[in-house]
Subunit: 325 residues, 2 copies
């Protein structure tokens, strides 16, 4: 039994796919520009449940997960393609209208043009979301360029998406009478906002060394940077910017940390910068109550090892992000 | 209940998707080049059955269907992305190895680089095949440029894929002891060869007005050209180059015509040229026993009407190509 990561590595080695392994593939476009392309497949009852969301939120999220990959390369999204497999039962009602409306609304906000796609019949609703974007030639921000001593930075706050998923697993629904913190968590999971603007901002700043988006989970995605860059990392538990609603969901700090480290689908950006340049990061940006950039640790020379420092003691972290297999 | 075509038209109108409706989306790349992109979703038990094919043929076909779309634009394929949803049962065995091997083999022959993709878990095996290609700026061959009086031309022969599908429906399998004509038909269906070289050749010739690949069926795909170009068409039954194995499958000419007109998945090219320029088509090309270019009819001014002329009598053809819904 292989994991998804081992399988992708296997495919990559076997077929010489030098470009697989980052959030997007990078291809030459013209003299000044590279093109980045990403594709994300979402499958009903694996990646989402129809009775937990709305068609509009699902359309939004289908685009958001791919936009997040584009943002993680420091690229600007340009065009999109959308393939959907639709069960017969969903063909007749308003479902697809809502789905496309949610997709389209985020596409307009993100200046992405839906250029085409495909429609097939299927047993379960399945979506493949493809986005192409532009990045200045040679400037795509990869996972592989982190250096020892770099500060590890995360945008906004983490753990909220997994918190929302737990509420859903426990039977809470959008249609219930919800407290504000519950609604925040549910929306963080069901309608995530990709960090496209911040990705562009970081590209222009030209100080980021390695970047990824948090889709599998903070610990797991950090381990991807470490593996690609052949470095290690040290994280400080008390620095991690937990979602502000998490303490309402669970009093245990241990549990909150688990949601933040292993939850996934936060779609925040995780990146490294030379430590002395961190102060350049927020220049000209206005922070909101969720903060914007937080240093949560540093890159070390312990190749492949991620340490979590808590109360002055370090433990070795085992990534537990979501795996399909 | 909408058909797939009506639905796509509806989506197109609603969201202003000017570029939807051809085999590929056309996007600006640089001063001299446009980029074409296509995506095709194939779903187990809808578009294929695992017990009717091999993993290698399925990988081949997943790429072939998209290459055929690129060919239909007169474009050159360059890069590919591949998203797969894989049932747990297929994860453990040699299935994916065979699938990727079949895909990779055709990719190498077609000079297409697999640049990335996604893997998810699913109930049924599902593939989304994405290809990007290049075409000289403004030279993508669309469906919408056919003119009254144009000759309608098809490549090679048609009906064989649907013939192979009928054999499969009737219980014949690749593993059976097969007569050569049976093997031909099965392979035409299971391992189709996209007309990429001919697409390029036609691009360079610069005489083709409108083009499409035969995926839905000759009649149905011709109707797409007619609708997009706001013209009609007249087809001559005795001119249609039927697959040479069809008479072994069915003695009825009526039935053979049905397979050829409504079968789909032949992945031949269907295009129009000014009638006086047809003679330029085969210059420098060597024809095989399946012929190469056959004039099967002409574009008329009867907007949206396709006539089939047989024994001197004309009947109005109703497209019956495969519809998902």
């Amino acid at each position: 039994m292989h994991s998804e990561f081992e399988f992708i590595q296997n495919i990559k080695n076997k077929y010489g796919l030098a470009r697989v392994g980052d959030d997007c593939a990078v291809l030459p476009k013209d003299d000044k520009t590279d093109m980045v392309v990403t594709t994300d497949m979402l499958v009903e009852d694996i990646d989402f449940r129809l009775d937990w969301t709305t068609p509009e939120f699902l359309g939004h999220k289908a685009l958001a997960v791919s936009l997040s990959d584009i943002a993680a390369m420091g690229a600007t999204p340009k065009w999109a393609m959308l393939s959907v497999g639709v069960p017969k039962a969903l063909w007749k009602d308003k479902f697809l209208d809502g789905f496309y409306s949610g997709y389209d609304s985020l596409a307009k906000k993100s200046h992405v043009e839906l250029a085409g796609g495909d429609i097939s019949q299927s047993d379960k609703f399945v979506v493949d979301s493809i986005i192409g974007g532009d990045v200045p030639k040679g400037k795509a921000i990869l996972r592989s360029a982190a250096e020892v001593g770099d500060a590890i930075v995360v945008t906004h706050r983490v753990g909220g998406s997994r918190g929302g998923l737990r509420l859903l697993e426990n039977g809470r629904r959008l249609s219930d009478s919800l407290e504000p913190w519950e609604e925040n968590l549910l929306l963080t999971h069901l309608q995530p906002w990709p960090q496209v603007g911040i990705g562009s901002y970081l590209q222009n700043l030209e100080i980021v060394r390695a970047m990824i988006d948090i889709s599998d989970g903070l610990a797991s995605d950090l381990s991807h940077i470490c593996e690609s860059s052949k470095v290690g990392a040290k994280l400080y538990a008390d620095k991690i910017p937990l979602d502000l609603s998490l303490p309402r969901l669970t009093e245990s700090f241990e549990d909150q940390m688990h949601l933040a480290l292993n939850g996934g689908e936060d779609f925040q950006l995780l990146f490294t910068v030379p430590a002395e340049k961190f102060s350049q990061l927020s220049a000209g940006l206005i922070e909101d109550e969720n903060g914007l950039f937080t240093v949560i640790g540093e890159i070390t020379a312990n190749i492949g090892i991620i340490e979590l420092v808590r109360d002055g003691k370090a433990e070795i972290l085992k990534p537990q992000g979501y795996r399909h297999f």
